[in-house]
């Protein structure tokens, strides 16, 4: 196991848990169980509020419909998740989440910035980069968070605004992402566990890049991620990995 490896809950307790990902309950439970951090999905609302939400549309996961970027917080704040049965866990404002995490400086936050604008123009990408940079400074999580995105331009703009913000390029092709990360001085690559092996992790490390692995939804993939020596394990099976690593 990589001695610097950090265990993060995917969206909190992971997609298979009864608590929906990206909710207060799921994220706080993950941190209270002993995870070293959490991966969360963030989107910017129409009135520039960071909302913690995964999908491109609020339907069918919640009682509302429409995209986050097309709605103001006042409209979004009435949204709650339709699962599990009988519960109404709300869609949350990122500021409220970070206000609720006690000793947030002790945790790592993987921030997956979702941009569902079909044809985002350069101005919109500039806005996202600027808002993100301001927000991580305001939350005082510059040095214990990393930004993940598939949008190369967005990552480049964030990096140019604040070189201290760690940026990870989302990868479907390891070699291509490695080259982009090296050219743009990104800190790492975010990649599905099924696209990884021990040699690729070693290759990334030799190039000075970190690896954040996701798609870890079974006990075996927890073990694989540990054996590969990745830097961040964004797991859906938190309880299992905490047990086997004695955290």
């Amino acid at each position: 196991m990589n001695p610097d490896c950090k265990i993060l809950g995917h969206g909190g307790m992971g997609i298979a848990h009864t608590l929906p990902i990206n909710t207060f309950e799921s994220i706080l439970k993950c941190l209270n169980m002993g995870a070293e951090g959490v991966e969360i999905d963030i989107q910017l609302s129409k009135d520039s509020v960071w909302i913690i939400f995964h999908d491109s549309d609020m339907s069918p996961a919640t009682n509302l419909s429409g995209s986050i970027f097309n709605n103001n917080w006042q409209q979004i704040k009435g949204a709650y998740y339709m699962n599990p049965l009988y519960a109404q866990y709300p869609v949350i404002h990122a500021d409220e989440l970070f206000h609720s995490i006690v000793n947030k400086e002790n945790y790592i936050f993987s921030l997956d910035l979702k941009n569902y604008q079909m044809n985002p123009d350069s101005n919109y990408t500039d806005l996202l980069a600027r808002k993100y940079t301001e927000w991580v400074i305001k939350q005082d999580i510059v040095f214990n968070s990393y930004l993940t995105s598939s949008d190369l331009n967005l990552l480049m703009k964030v990096k140019s605004l604040n070189p201290d913000i760690e940026t990870f390029i989302y990868s479907s092709d390891f070699q291509k992402s490695k080259q982009e990360a090296l050219v743009q001085n990104f800190e790492g690559i975010s990649i599905h566990i099924n696209s990884l092996n021990q040699d690729l992790v070693k290759e990334a490390h030799q190039s000075g890049l970190k690896i954040a692995a996701f798609g870890i939804n079974s006990g075996q993939s927890n073990i694989d991620a540990i054996e590969y020596g990745v830097d961040y394990i964004e797991t859906d099976q938190l309880q299992h990995i905490l047990q086997i690593t004695n955290n």
């Binding site: 608590l19 207060f24 439970k29 209270n32 009682n63 049965l85 009988y86 866990y89 206000h99």
Partner: protein, 167 residues
Amino acid sequence: MKIRYILILLIYPIFIIAQKDKHVIKHSIYLEALGTGGYGSINYDCTFLKFKKHKIYLSGRIGTGTNNFTDFENKFNPDLIFTSGLYAFYGKNHHVELGINFIMSLIVQYNPSVRSYRKLNSHLGFSIGYRYQKHPKGLITGIRYTPILEFNTHFRHWAAAYIGYCF
């Protein structure tokens, strides 16, 4: 609301048509997977009327279940779901069942200003199913389609399977 009235209209004729010929008290304890008790529940069922001539009997049910045993602080603090219902069964060994359930949920949630609180809601459930019970005392098992009018506003398809003991 319409569905509620339809169910009452469906169950009510059983009381009118059937001729009560015997008082029978039978008790059952059963475990239900999914169903109106959430993801799982433990239930007590009491058959209080039997109309032998028409192979119909009526029973009441109470049960409790949960979605989670621990809360967001990872402390034992289960969600509480209470379900109660009235069921009509038709048949000798193989029974068709029809029922209505009233459900109360107390779900543990987080709020930035108060931190932990329980959100109380009520729901209405329906049940159409099959029960197998060969002997008056002994094993009972069954499956149910249990649609739920969640918060009395949202309709949700749901189902259940159960196994228990009648005594």
